[in-house]
């Protein structure tokens, strides 16, 4: 399948409006990490903005706008990760360790992993990209959408988007 067809089946193949990486300079030193939103289609939806406690997801002029981010404001708190109905928000913290990044990923499957578990980290087509270690599991809105904090090799932050408990 060519790249446009892959995209049309729900796989991001390149950066586009609503699905861009954080600015590299700010990202590498930002404790807590920065949000990565992968929401490239105009749909009527704004909970990422309304759930953000610091205004880092810029208010929508039209509810159909794709999200735009004010990166210096983002604290990596992952409230949007837990709220987004499309599970399209992720956080990557590049300061976690030497060559190790911490990803905060939305998770609505069973079983719920526990701290210390080794899990498979999946790419955008469900391929196992690497193994990761669960560092924490939170449930920010008490609504059964968990945020799994998983440490992974730093070079995989642009690939890992889900986990599978093995």
């Amino acid at each position: 399948m060519n790249a446009p067809a892959v995209f049309e089946s729900g796989v991001l193949t390149e950066e586009r409006p609503g699905a861009v990486r954080p600015p590299a300079d700010l990202w590498k030193g930002k404790k807590g990490g920065l949000v990565i939103v992968e929401c490239p289609q105009r749909i009527p939806c704004n909970p990422c903005n309304t759930s953000c406690p610091v205004g880092a997801i810029i208010a929508f002029k039209d509810i159909n706008d794709v999200p735009a981010i004010d990166y210096p404001k983002c604290t990596g708190c992952a409230m949007c990760v837990a709220k987004c109905p499309g599970l399209a928000c992720f956080v990557a913290d590049l300061t976690f360790g030497d060559g190790v990044a911490l990803m905060k990923l939305p998770y609505e499957m069973l079983p719920v992993p526990a701290k210390g578990d080794r899990v498979k980290c999946l790419g955008r087509t469900g391929d196992a990209v690497c193994d990761g270690t669960v560092e924490n599991v939170t449930e920010p809105h008490r609504d059964r959408t968990r945020v799994v904090h998983v440490s992974i090799p730093a070079e995989k932050v642009n690939d890992v988007r889900a986990i599978r408990v093995v």
Partner: protein, 366 residues
């Protein structure tokens, strides 16, 4: 035969009907809601995913939680809203202003409503293919009912037909229930549902096969597989078919508005492909050409539940207003603005074009 009188009869206790009931009762009208199922909420009770939209449409809240919120809202009006469960509106006779209803299979009664809001929803479409009558071939609605209402999984490995929002969401729910999804098959060159719903299941490893179609179900007494084939722009098969191993084929190939009562009420109808079937002409208040009948939700054209809830509020409020109950005119402006926002995106193009074909300036003007 028992007879009842009411200000507003609402046909259907789903998102549109409950929203209509809330507004009509809020304005002071006596309301009767007839719901064919054993519980209120319609399709909302099966929706375990979080809704899109804005806070006004309960964005970020799971569908079944929204059903609870709407039920709470109508319960605050006490006796002003009477709900009849397991009750079908089997006919509407405009000359007499009578509706015939049936609770269960024994109890028949008549209702003389001053106004009617039809929020009867939609019916699933099925597609013909050889062997589609063997056990294991389901509609997506049935799969959701089994899993999310009764806690029963439909099978071990499912082939999903259709990548609209329902096909994508039900695939995700199947994964959550521990059922394997072999693939999602879609005839169009792109997913019809929200891209993020597709991304969600892709990263869990479910392939989405665009420009593919199901050719036949395989199996003697029950489904053991399916034959799928690539198709061209005209949906003609290309190349040789592939066999997929599965014990369930789930059809999520669209819905059609359930407008039978509207036909019976004499409402002017039009076939609008963008709205997925025959739908009534309506003014901005959701009033049909029959001055006593309003409608809302999927029966007015297939759309998301968030839009159905706003349409329901408009219809309920307008029906109450027509009976002389005082309503705040600015409420309509707010609801119209919300509806316009919901439909403004690229996914709303199709709906906007469809509605434009059946909206009239006002029945007086026509």
């Amino acid at each position: 035969m028992k007879e009842y009188k009411t200000d507003v009869l609402i046909v259907g206790g789903g998102p549109a009907g409950l929203s209509a009931a809330a507004e009509a009762a809020g304005a002071g009208a006596e309301v009767m809601v007839a719901e064919g199922d054993l519980h209120l909420g319609g399709q909302l009770v099966k929706q375990s995913h979080k809704f899109f939209g804005s806070k006004d449409e309960f964005a970020g809240t799971r569908g079944f939680e929204i059903a609870k919120i709407l039920k709470n809202e109508i319960s605050q009006y006490g006796g002003r809203v009477k709900t009849f469960l397991d009750t079908t509106v089997s006919g509407y006779y405009p000359d007499e202003g009578a509706a015939t209803l049936m609770t269960g299979e024994e109890e028949y009664f008549r209702v003389y409503p001053r106004k009617v809001v039809v929020a009867s929803g939609a019916q699933e479409r099925l597609i013909p293919f050889p062997n589609n009558d063997i056990p294991g071939v389901y509609g997506a609605g049935a799969v959701q009912t089994l899993m999310n209402v009764y806690g029963v999984v439909p099978g071990k490995r499912v082939l999903m037909i259709g990548a609209g929002n329902i096909g994508l969401i039900v695939s995700y729910q199947l994964m959550q229930a521990g059922v394997e999804v072999a693939a999602v098959v879609e005839g169009m060159p792109r997913v019809g549902g929200y891209w993020v719903h597709a991304a969600k299941i892709r990263r869990l490893g479910i392939p989405i096969l665009l420009r593919h179609s199901v050719k036949r179900a395989i199996g003697d007494v029950f489904v053991t597989g399916a034959e799928i084939t690539e198709v061209d722009e005209r949906f003609n098969p290309v190349g040789s078919p592939t066999e997929i191993e599965c014990d369930t084929i789930c059809l999520a190939v669209g819905l059609a508005p359930s407008g039978e009562l509207l036909w019976q009420a004499g409402c002017e109808m039009k076939y609008v492909p963008n709205l997925c079937g025959h739908v009534p002409y309506r003014d901005r208040y959701m009033r049909t050409s029959n001055r006593d009948v309003w409608m809302a939700g999927d029966v007015s054209g297939i759309e998301e539940a968030s839009a159905a809830m706003i349409e329901g509020r408009i219809a309920g409020l307008a029906a109450a207003e027509s009976l002389g109950y005082k309503v705040k005119a600015e409420k309509f402006e707010i609801f119209w603005a919300r509806l316009k926002n919901l439909r403004a995106g690229e996914v709303g193009d199709k709906i906007r074009a469809g509605v434009a074909q059946v909206v009239v300036d006002g029945w007086e003007a026509k």
